[in-house]
Structures are given as C-alpha cells and as structure tokens.
Symmetry: C2
Subunit: 197 residues, 2 copies
C-alpha cells in the first residue's frame, strides 16, 4: 500500500554508501516531511554535478574544466607527481604547504573483493601521465592500509618496469608521538626504516 | 580548489538525517565515481516524490491520491482510529492482521527540543478527524519513548476534552519474554497494569 513514488525514492536512497533499508526509509520520510527545500536542492545539485563534473585529463580529479586549475598552474613543479587515492587525501597534503608538485588522483584503490583491479582503477592513464618525459619522480601517497599498500606495491612495480623513479611516504612514529603510546607495529617499522644521521 | 558543483553536492547531501561533512563527501565521491546511474535515479525519484506525494486528507499519510486507498476502503472499521507516529509504525500494525480499523499518521511526535509542538504536528487535523461523529475510539499507538508517551498524554487530554474515548496500547512483558531477561521497568509496568482474570 506504499505509494510507488515513495517506494522508488526509498529504493533510490539505498544507492548511497552505508545506507540500508531502514535508514533509506527514515531519510525519505524526513525529506518529504521536514525538508522539501533540501530535497529539491539535493536533486538539483545531483543533476548539476553529474552534468558538469568530469575527470581532469591530467590528474583525474573532479573538475568542471578539461584540465583542472592545479594542473594548469605553471607555478607547480611538474617534475614531481604525487599519487593519492581520493581528492580528500590531496586536500590533506595541500594543507601541509610542504608540497609544490602535481598530483594524480586514483579515485579508489585496488580492492579485489569489490571487483576493483588495475583495469577498473584506470592505471593505464596514470602510467601514461607518469611517462610524459617531464615527471622525474612519482611519490606514492596511497593510504597505509592493506589495500593502499597493495596499490602502492603494484604501482611501484609498474613504474619500475617503465624506468620511472618511485618513492613512498615514510612510515614511523607520528610527530609529537610518545613511544609508550605508539603501537608496536609502527615502532617496528620506525626501527626497520631508521634514518642515518 | 574544489569545483563548485561538487561543493554544492556535498553540501546538499548534508540535508539527509545523520549525514555529516565526512559522510557527505564520501557519498558524493561514491556517486560520481561508482554509481552515476544511481545518482540520476536518486535525483529523479526525489523530484517525482516531491511532485506526486501529498498527505491523505483523512489519515495524513503519504499518498498519490487525495484520499489513500486504505481510508477509501469500505471494508475497514471506521469506528476505530489508531494514531501512530510514522508510516513505518502503521506498516508494523498492519502486519499483525489484528486490526481492521483506520489510522491517523502524525508524521512525527512532540519534540520541544526540535521545535515540534502541537501546532507543528498539526494536531488540529487529527482532532477534526477524530470528532467526525463516526469514530468511537481513538487508539494511541505512539512509541513508548519519552516523546511518544508525552504525545499520547497530550492527545488523550485533548480528546477527553472533546468527549472522544481514547485508549493506549498496553505495556508489559513481550510475548515469549522471560522475566529473568526483562528489564525491571517493564516488569514494574506489567505489575501495575496487571489484568484481572
């Protein structure tokens, strides 16, 4: 007896990650009952984002132009290419103000369980970008999770086969970290990768 | 440096209940990267639901007609009116197959902290419905939470002032429940509201 357009909305909300049947129902009721303006705005921004956003031809991030402002900026050091998983990671690195090179955003990571292999990640585009003759070093800044590490490992092999120098963010004790409160895996890594002074 | 249509989408997703800035960002990336069809479908179902759904003139639930199919069904007992908070509650009661009367869906509950008082809940519409001369008993089936209890309490007073008989779902030990594993508040209620056999 549920009206079909309400059913369709509840069903459509389930495409959002982390939203199951109960939350989808709660969201639909909330939007229809308490925030119709928000719902209109959501529908419009979805359509606008879908029609206006594309992937930057150089760094693969979302942009409204063919090439994003960052890639088009001649002030950036084109010899350095930093590979990150998502735009949020790029934003974190930019916040450090410690990096002036360019980026490549994978928009994901290798994740065989979710059916995301090298082809789905579009690694060909990254390899073409990294072998443009200007890039001298690729900094692998994927996450230090199992999937991020696997992605970095595969990329380092692919890049080595093409004669491109690759590096990885260092692992170790966080700045301000006390050994007493650092997990043993991190301390072990910091020992193995200790720096000569 | 985030494209404005991406920013707008992330912002619009935050109108969903329980979605903060981090989840909104994750949802936006997911939709744009992995489920553009789902995003289109979501935008369309939002617009369709907003334009086609209205509140049933009699029971206040969402419907695509002026009066919903349940209210228009002459097989239902029009002398009984069951008041619930949300359509999901109505669905639970229908599943029992133990009730053949009609419903009134509040689409919420009294919640002073969220600014939802008697006026926002539209209690006038319910009171007009309950005093149509056909309804003989109003069954208050709001939740047994603080807010649901407060709503039932206020409704029972408003109905009593209008000479309409009101009742409340019974509280007590759940069917199949063992006293050893029932909370003491429920057992106390079951004692106070014990039935004479």
């Amino acid at each position: 007896m549920t009206p079909s357009s309400l059913d369709a909305l509840i069903d459509a909300l389930r495409c959002l990650p982390g939203v199951g049947p109960k939350s989808a129902q709660r969201m639909a009721y909330y939007l229809l009952q308490r925030d119709q303006r928000g719902a209109h705005r959501l529908a419009e921004s979805l359509e606008r984002a879908l029609s206006s956003l594309q992937h930057c031809e150089r760094c693969n991030t979302f942009t409204e132009e063919r090439i994003c402002q960052r890639c088009a900026n001649p002030q950036r050091d084109a010899r350095l290419l930093c590979v990150v998983e998502m735009p949020a990671d790029l934003a974190m690195i930019e916040q450090t103000l410690a990096y002036k090179g360019l980026y490549y955003v994978l928009m994901g990571r290798l994740s065989p369980l979710d059916g995301i292999g090298p082809r789905e990640l579009g690694l060909e585009k990254l390899l073409a970008r990294a072998t443009d003759g200007v890039v001298e070093e690729v900094i692998l800044a994927t996450n230090f999770t199992n999937e991020g590490e696997a992605t970095a490992h595969m990329l380092s092999e692919l890049l080595a086969a093409r004669g491109v120098r690759a590096s990885r963010l260092s692992r170790g004790v966080p700045v301000g970290g006390e050994l007493e409160h650092t997990d043993s895996g991190t301390i072990a890594q910091a020992l193995v990768e200790r720096r000569t002074l």
